[in-house]
């Protein structure tokens, strides 16, 4: 979805927003509230360092290390922090496990809360009105939009992130991955599978 600013009246819509943002940065910098170099560093962090690979490693570790999996489900904040590959983990992370009986899906209906530390920035669809409005009422319809169909009897559990708790779905390990390394398993773990709108790739779906 292209960013399109309908709120302005005539032509050159993006540049209105762009000029406005630039003016704001000028004011905040002149006031001494922000340091443009620090802003650059934040942008760079989100563009290059924080992404769903972090979460994928967490999932792959849980798939291969039963003690870690237990720790993750008991206290995800602490377990992920001890894993060490994510430099800083905020509090309030909760991991929820998919099973043959239950499929978990995460949404934030009121804004767009998302576990940035482990998944990076949320995709546009996650922040969109279609997802926020429908996930709690028609999750199977939303899954169909993602070409995911689950057995009719599977319980669908939708977690609406209404407080500062952030949820990470621990998907089921695909069959046929016995003996795989953590890194290879992590390649199967898609972002959407950790939100609950997708399933992990199957072994045949990635390059060998």
């Amino acid at each position: 979805m292209a960013d399109h600013d309908h709120a302005t009246d005539h032509g050159s819509e993006l540049s209105e927003t762009q000029l406005r943002v630039r003016a704001l940065e000028t004011i905040l910098t002149e006031k001494g509230y922000v340091d443009p170099a620090a802003l650059d560093a934040i942008v760079e962090t989100y563009e290059t360092k924080i992404g769903p690979r972090n979460g994928a490693i967490v999932v792959a570790t849980a798939w291969t290390d039963p003690a870690f999996k237990q720790a993750l489900l008991a206290d995800a904040t602490k377990a992920v922090a001890q894993l060490g590959h994510i430099s800083r983990v905020g509090d309030h992370l909760v991991a929820v496990e998919n099973t043959p009986q239950r499929h978990n899906m995460i949404v934030c209906t009121l804004c767009s809360c998302y576990p940035w530390e482990v998944l990076g920035l949320p995709p546009v669809w996650y922040k969109s009105a279609p997802y926020r409005s429908r996930a709690v009422k028609d999750p199977r319809g939303v899954l169909a939009d993602f070409n995911v169909q689950l057995p009719k009897e599977t319980e669908i559990r939708v977690w609406d992130s209404t407080a500062e708790t952030r949820f990470l779905v621990l998907p089921m390990r695909p069959a046929g991955t016995e003996g795989w390394s953590k890194e290879r398993l992590a390649d199967l773990v898609t972002r959407d599978s950790m939100i609950g709108t997708g399933l992990p790739r199957k072994p045949g779906e990635i390059a060998q």
């Binding site: 993006l14 309030h92 804004c111 009719k152 009897e153």
Partner: protein, 218 residues
């Protein structure tokens, strides 16, 4: 407030459309908005629920017509103005015209490079938890004009306490400048049919994270 932001269960927005190979930002200004917001948050200019409340208070037609980061921008502008960090004439001029209002600290490149963790919302408990996992509860029916994190679809509904997350700053108080007012936070799970009626998907369970004042025993 019962704003357009509270859209859980609304119909009519259409299909969810995912973008292949979506970049972190679609326009460079989006990254600047995110970064300014993080920097002002680090500086203690306002709290996360003030940021949310400012976006919720946008007129619904503006909210819906604005992209995610555009809403951040509009919310940030209103917090800057409302809290006196920037004056309207400065906003109009695009330059600072007078000295800054002091802030607790300033975000530096070093802080960013060390890794910025999200703030903790844990707070000292003010008393024992009223509920424990397994308790039947009912969410309250209230409709404040101010910020709340109890969505409309989940008001006045029977549910069960599933998890207890400790004591947290209470958004309903924080957003209106009444301090942290710490409250116990629970995950409350509802049967889909209690929320959407008898025609709901029978396999659907929905949970919210609910602060203790949102709940009464059922």
């Amino acid at each position: 407030m019962n704003g357009i932001h509270d859209m859980g269960g609304m119909d009519g927005f259409g299909k969810v459309e995912a973008e292949l190979n979506e970049p972190p930002f679609h326009e460079s200004w989006e990254g600047r908005v995110l970064a300014m917001q993080r920097a002002m948050g680090y500086a203690g200019a306002w709290q996360i629920d003030h940021g949310r409340f400012a976006q919720e208070a946008l007129p619904p037609q503006v909210y819906l017509a604005s992209s995610y980061y555009r809403r951040w921008l509009l919310g940030m502008e209103s917090n800057l103005l409302e809290r006196g960090y920037v004056a309207p004439d400065e906003m109009a001029a695009g330059h600072a015209l007078r000295p800054a209002k002091p802030l607790n600290r300033k975000l530096t490149t070093e802080v960013v490079q060390k890794g910025m963790a999200r703030s903790s919302f844990y707070r000292q408990q003010q008393g024992p938890a009223r509920f424990k996992p397994g308790d039947r509860v009912r969410t309250k029916n209230f409709h404040p004009q101010t910020h709340t994190r109890l969505p409309r679809y989940a008001r006045g509904k029977p549910g069960m306490i599933e998890l207890i997350h400790g004591c947290h700053a209470y958004p309903d108080s924080v957003a209106v400048g009444q301090g942290d007012n710490p409250q116990w936070l629970y995950t409350v799970v509802f049967d889909g049919r209690d929320i959407w009626g008898p025609d709901a998907d029978r396999t659907l369970k929905i949970s919210i994270d609910a602060f203790e004042p949102y709940l009464e025993p059922a």
